[in-house]
C-alpha cells in the first residue's frame, strides 16, 4: 500500500496547456500515472501536442467527464488559490499544488474556506507526491525512487531527491514520498501526513525532512509521543548554520523572533525519541538501525 496516490488515482492536470503543465503531464504519464484530463480555462476542446488527454475549460467538466479524484496544479501563482478552490468545489478529494510564489493571504483564505471539509491539499511550492512504482504526481524525477516500506515527508525539493536517491542506492525503497512545500502556509503539515503513514500497513518508517522556520517539526515530535506509534521516524533538519531573520530561499524558511531555529527543532525531535541525522549521508544507516 501507500498513502494519498496509487494506481486508483485518476488525475486532472490544471494548467495542462502551459509549459510546465504539458512537460510534467508527459513525465507523469510516462511514469504510469493515470492522467485522465487537463484543464485550462478557454482551451477546452483543444489538444496538447503529443498528449492523448482531453482538455476542459472547468474542473467540474473534467471531473464529470473523466471521474477524476485528484488534481495537480501548474497554474501561475496569481491564479493558484482559485484553482485549488475550483477543484474543491468540483468534489476533487486530493489537490497537489506545485506552484511557487502564491500570496500568503490567498493560502490563508483557501485554508479557512476548506477547513473541516473532506479535501486533502498538498503544497503549494512543493515537488508533489509519489508512490514509487504506482503513481507520480508532481515534478520529481521518477527514476530515483524505488518501491518499498519507508515513507518520506519533506519541506524541500531537491534535498528530498538527494535523500530519496541515497535511500534507493542503499537498497531502501519508499512507500510514498510527500513534498509538503516550502511556504509558511501549506495544505498538509507533517502532523496531517504522519497519521496516514501510521495507518498504512506497508509503511514501517518515515524520514522527516524539516528545515528552519515555523513549528511543524515540533508538532510532529509531539504527535509522535502522544500515543504509542507503530511507525518509526528518522529526521533531518536543514539550516543549522542559517542566520536569523533571513529568508533562505523558501518563503517559510526563516528564523523570526528567535523562533524556528534548527537547533531547537533537533533538540525537540531528539527529546521525543526521534533520531536526527547530522548529515544526509547518515540517513540510510539510521533508517536501517532505528529500533522498530
Amino acid at each position: 500500500m501507500s498513502i494519498l496516490v496509487d494506481s486508483r488515482t485518476r488525475l486532472i492536470v490544471q494548467g495542462i496547456t502551459g509549459r510546465d503543465g504539458s512537460f510534467h503531464a508527459r513525465q507523469m504519464i510516462d511514469y504510469g500515472t493515470n492522467v485522465v484530463a487537463g484543464v485550462t480555462p478557454g482551451k477546452g476542446g483543444t489538444r496538447v501536442d503529443g498528449l492523448d488527454v482531453p482538455v476542459f475549460d472547468t474542473v467540474r467538466e473534467a471531473v464529470e467527464a473523466a471521474q477524476a479524484n485528484a488534481s495537480v496544479i501548474y497554474v501561475p501563482a496569481s491564479a493558484s488559490a482559485d484553482a485549488i478552490l475550483e477543484s474543491a468545489d468540483a468534489g476533487v478529494q486530493l489537490v497537489i499544488c506545485i506552484t511557487e510564489g502564491i500570496p500568503v493571504n490567498d493560502m490563508l483564505r483557501v485554508h479557512h474556506l476548506l477547513a473541516g471539509g473532506n479535501i486533502t491539499i498538498v503544497g503549494p511550492n512543493c515537488p508533489g507526491v509519489i508512490s514509487p512504482g504506482k503513481c507520480k504526481v508532481g515534478i520529481m524525477p521518477g527514476f530515483i525512487h524505488k518501491p518499498g516500506r519507508v515513507g518520506v515527508v519533506s519541506r524541500s525539493g531537491t534535498l528530498t531527491y538527494e535523500i530519496v536517491y541515497a535511500l534507493t542506492q542503499a537498497g531502501i525503497g519508499q512507500s510514498t514520498c510527500v513534498g509538503v512545500g516550502g511556504d509558511p502556509v501549506i495544505g498538509s503539515k507533517f502532523t496531517d501526513l504522519l497519521p496516514k503513514f501510521e495507518a498504512d500497513p506497508d509503511t514501517d518508517a518515515v524520514v522527516l525532512v524539516g528545515e528552519i522556520g515555523g513549528a511543524d517539526e515540533e508538532e510532529a515530535a509531539a504527535w509522535y509521543t502522544r500515543s504509542p506509534r507503530r511507525i518509526r521516524i528518522v529526521a533531518f533538519i536543514a539550516g543549522v548554520s542559517a542566520p536569523p531573520g533571513k529568508r533562505m530561499g523558501h518563503a517559510g524558511a526563516i528564523i523570526s523572533g528567535g523562533k524556528g531555529t534548527a537547533k531547537d527543532k533537533i533538540e525537540t525531535l531528539m527529546n521525543h525519541g526521534i533520531p536526527v541525522a547530522s548529515d544526509t549521508s547518515q540517513i540510510p544507516d539510521l533508517v536501517k538501525k532505528v529500533p522498530g
Binding site: 500570496p103 485554508h111 534535498l159 536517491y165 525532512v209 528545515e211 515555523g214 513549528a215 533571513k246 524558511a253
Partner: protein
C-alpha cells in the same frame, strides 16, 4: 518587502489613522522649510530600513529652525548599520501622557493574523514580551471572517488608558487591519502610539512589511521599494529571479533547490568553512542561471572558493556539466571551483567536467566537496 517610516505613515494617514504632522526632506534647507511650516519644536528622524536608529544618533529633537537645519545636516549622509541616510522625516513634537504599542502580524502558527496592543510602547515589543508579558494583549483575526470593531474595543479597553483614548485606539486598530489586508502586509506596527494629555491619540512611528509574493497585485506598494536600502547583490539576484542571501564568509555557494543549498551551507560550516552566501538557482540548472549566479557570487568581497552543488533530476548531469563548461569557458573566474554533482547520469557529467581542462575539482559527495572547499579557503 520593507518600506520607510514616512511611507508607512502615509499609508496609515490615507487609511484614516491619526498620525503626527510631518514632512520629509532630502536636504537641511528642506528640513528647515518643513519645520517652519509645522512650527517648532520638531523631531528630525533618519529614514532607514534597519532598526536602532535612535541609539545610532539618527533621531534628534530641534527647538528652532536653525537647530533643525543642523540636526538634518548631521543625520543626512549618516551610516546606520550599513544604510546611508538619504531622507529625514521632520515631525511635530507631540505631548505624551502615555506611550502604547499597536500592531498586526501574520500569524503562521494559527494560520491567520494577530492584532497586538501593549500598554508599554516606545520600546521593543519582544523585550516587553519577555519581561512584562501581562502588558501585551492579543486577538486572533480570522482571514475570512475578518476583524470586528468589538474585537478592537475589547483589546483597547484593556490598556488602562482613558475611555476616550480607548475608543480612538479601537478605531485605529480597525483601520490598521483594513490597510494591512488591503496591501497584503505581513506586519504593521505603530510604536509608539501616543495618548496625549487631552486623551486624544496619535501615531508617532510607522512600520510596514509586505508579502513579496503579493506585489504583483500591489503596484502602489511596490513603487515604494527603495533598492538603495537593500543589499546590491540581493537586488541583482532578485532581478535575475535567483534567491540570494549575503552571509559574509569566503566560500561562495551555488546550488539548485533551497533545502539543498541550506544543507550545503551546513556541511561547509561543519567542515570549518565560512559560506559567503546562499544562492539558489531553483529546481533546474540552466546554463543562463548558472552564469547569472556566478556573476553575483564573484562580486562577494573576499571570495576564495566557489562551491557548486547540483542534484541532477529530470535534467541529466551530463547536460548540466555541458552547460557549466560552456559558461566557465566564457567567464574569467579567478577563484578555484569545487563541484559536487549527483543524480541522473552523474558519471558522464563528472567525466565531462574533469575532461574540460578547466580549473574544476569534482566530488561525488557533499561532505568531501565541502572539506576541499574549506581547505582551499584557508589563507
Amino acid at each position: 518587502m520593507k518600506i520607510h517610516e514616512y511611507q508607512a505613515r502615509s499609508l496609515f494617514e490615507s487609511a484614516g489613522i491619526p498620525v503626527a504632522r510631518a514632512g520629509i526632506a532630502q536636504t537641511p534647507s528642506e528640513a528647515r522649510a518643513v519645520a517652519e511650516k509645522l512650527g517648532v519644536p520638531v523631531a528630525v528622524k533618519a529614514q532607514v530600513h534597519v532598526g536602532g536608529r535612535g541609539k545610532a544618533g539618527g533621531v534628534k529633537l530641534a527647538n528652532t529652525p536653525s537647530e533643525v537645519e543642523t540636526a538634518a545636516r548631521e543625520i543626512l549622509g549618516m551610516k546606520i548599520k550599513g544604510s546611508t541616510v538619504r531622507t529625514v522625516l521632520v515631525m511635530e513634537k507631540v505631548d505624551i501622557a502615555q506611550e502604547l504599542y499597536l500592531g498586526m502580524v501574520f500569524d503562521r502558527d494559527h494560520r491567520g493574523y494577530t492584532v497586538i496592543a501593549s500598554s508599554a510602547g516606545g520600546i521593543d515589543i519582544e523585550e516587553v514580551s519577555a519581561k512584562t508579558p501581562e502588558k501585551i494583549h492579543r486577538v486572533f483575526v480570522h482571514p475570512v471572517q475578518g476583524f470586528s470593531p468589538h474585537q478592537a474595543r475589547e483589546v483597547a479597553f484593556r490598556l488602562g488608558v482613558p475611555k476616550k483614548a480607548s475608543l480612538e485606539i479601537a478605531r485605529t486598530l480597525v483601520l490598521l487591519h483594513r490597510v494591512f489586508v488591503q496591501t497584503d502586509a505581513t506586519l504593521a506596527e505603530i510604536n509608539p502610539y501616543v495618548v496625549r494629555p487631552d486623551e486624544t491619540t496619535v501615531a508617532i512611528d510607522a512600520k510596514m512589511n509586505f508579502d513579496d509574493n503579493a506585489l504583483f497585485r500591489q503596484k502602489s506598494v511596490e513603487s515604494m521599494r527603495d533598492t538603495g536600502e537593500e543589499e546590491p547583490l540581493e537586488v541583482e539576484a532578485k532581478n535575475a529571479d535567483l534567491a540570494y542571501v549575503h552571509l559574509g564568509g569566503d566560500i561562495g555557494i551555488i546550488g539548485n533547490g533551497a533545502g539543498l543549498v541550506m544543507t550545503t551551507l551546513d556541511v561547509v560550516t561543519a567542515a570549518g568553512g565560512k559560506p559567503a552566501n546562499f544562492l539558489d538557482i531553483g529546481g533546474s540548472s540552466s546554463p543562463e542561471k548558472v552564469r547569472r549566479a556566478m556573476e553575483i557570487v564573484l562580486k562577494e568581497p573576499g571570495l576564495r572558493v566557489i562551491f557548486i552543488n547540483v542534484f541532477g533530476g529530470i535534467t541529466r548531469c551530463d547536460d548540466v556539466a555541458n552547460g557549466l563548461v560552456q559558461v566557465f569557458k566564457k567567464m574569467n573566474v579567478p577563484s578555484p571551483i569545487v563541484i559536487r554533482m549527483t543524480g541522473t547520469n552523474v558519471d558522464q557529467g563528472m567525466k565531462i567536467l574533469n575532461d574540460s581542462g578547466l580549473n574544476l575539482k569534482t566530488f561525488p559527495t557533499m561532505q568531501a566537496a565541502a572539506k576541499e572547499a574549506a581547505r582551499l579557503a584557508k589563507p
